[in-house]
């Protein structure tokens, strides 16, 4: 009980601190790398909840694919954007807090505090699932029997997104 709480607290601190650094980091590349740390911490929390399948998917999709894509977008956009250097120079914490952040910070903090209050008073304190959860085999079986149609729709969605990304970014090459 106590060990689980300590592990969860460490992971939560890592996740929240790196998410905070994503907001306040001066350089956008640093923000993207802190995003990797935050995603990895969330994967650790999934592991602590015995969701090994979701932890693996989290590392593959978020840490592996999405962050790499974001880093590629940063590199490709920073070459052409000459204003980037000027913008990043005045995006430190002081600039962020001074300019428009107080209102946005209040909005985020009020939301998080209100949701925490709701979760606290909701009375879900008794964990039902003390036993080990589903097996990964059960997920695969359910995914390919009951949810086979949504699964195929998801694959079509990914195909459409891939074709859309190629069309959006390769237009200049076609015009040449």
């Amino acid at each position: 009980m106590s060990t689980e709480l300590i592990i969860f607290s460490v992971l939560a601190v890592v996740v929240l601190a790196s998410a905070y650094k994503v907001v306040t980091a001066r350089l956008i590349t640093h923000a993207a790398l802190f995003l990797v740390l935050s995603f990895t911490g969330v994967a650790g929390i999934y592991l602590q909840m015995h969701q090994e399948f979701l932890a693996a998917i989290q590392v593959l999709v978020y840490v592996g694919a999405i962050t790499t894509m974001i880093l590629f977008a940063i590199m490709l956009s920073e070459i052409r954007d000459i204003k980037m250097e000027v913008e990043t120079r005045r995006t430190g914490l002081r600039y962020v807090v001074r300019r428009s952040a107080p209102f946005a910070f209040v909005v985020g903090a009020v939301f998080a505090a209100f949701m925490t209050y709701l979760f606290g008073v909701a009375g879900w304190d008794q964990p039902v699932g003390a036993a080990l959860p589903y097996q990964v085999q059960a997920v695969g079986k359910e995914l390919f029997t009951t949810f086979v149609v949504p699964f195929e729709v998801a694959s079509i969605l990914l195909l459409a997104a891939m074709i859309g990304a190629i069309v959006l970014t390769a237009r200049e090459e076609a015009d040449r």
Binding site: R80, E87, V107, M115, P133
Partner: protein
């Protein structure tokens, strides 16, 4: 097991941090990063409910899997739009993309 409200609160705070960033920053790539952060908080909530309330039901993780699929597709198309924006307008600041402003 830790009480259910703790991972739920972590997800809420992750969402709040992402909301703060998305409302503050004007860089389009950064806004996309904050959207991913908020989606992560929502996923954490879904996983927590699935783990604590219906632990032996594989439908919770499957739902999270579909959310992640949509997030990946959204990130791919969004970054392609940003690259197209950089190519056509020469900026990634959303404040300067005001072509439709009256």
């Amino acid at each position: 097991m830790i009480p259910l409200y703790m991972p739920l609160s972590l997800g809420a705070f992750l969402f709040g941090l992402g909301l703060w960033g998305a409302l503050t920053r004007t860089n389009a790539v950064r806004i996309l990063m904050f959207i991913e952060l908020m989606l992560n908080g929502v996923n954490l909530n879904l996983v927590s409910f699935s783990r604590y309330l219906t632990p032996d039901d594989p439908r919770g993780p499957i739902f999270v899997l579909f959310v992640m699929t949509v997030a990946a597709a959204e990130a791919a198309v969004g970054l392609a739009i940003i690259l197209s924006l950089v190519r056509n307008r020469g900026t990634v600041e959303v404040d300067r993309v005001n072509l439709l402003k009256g």
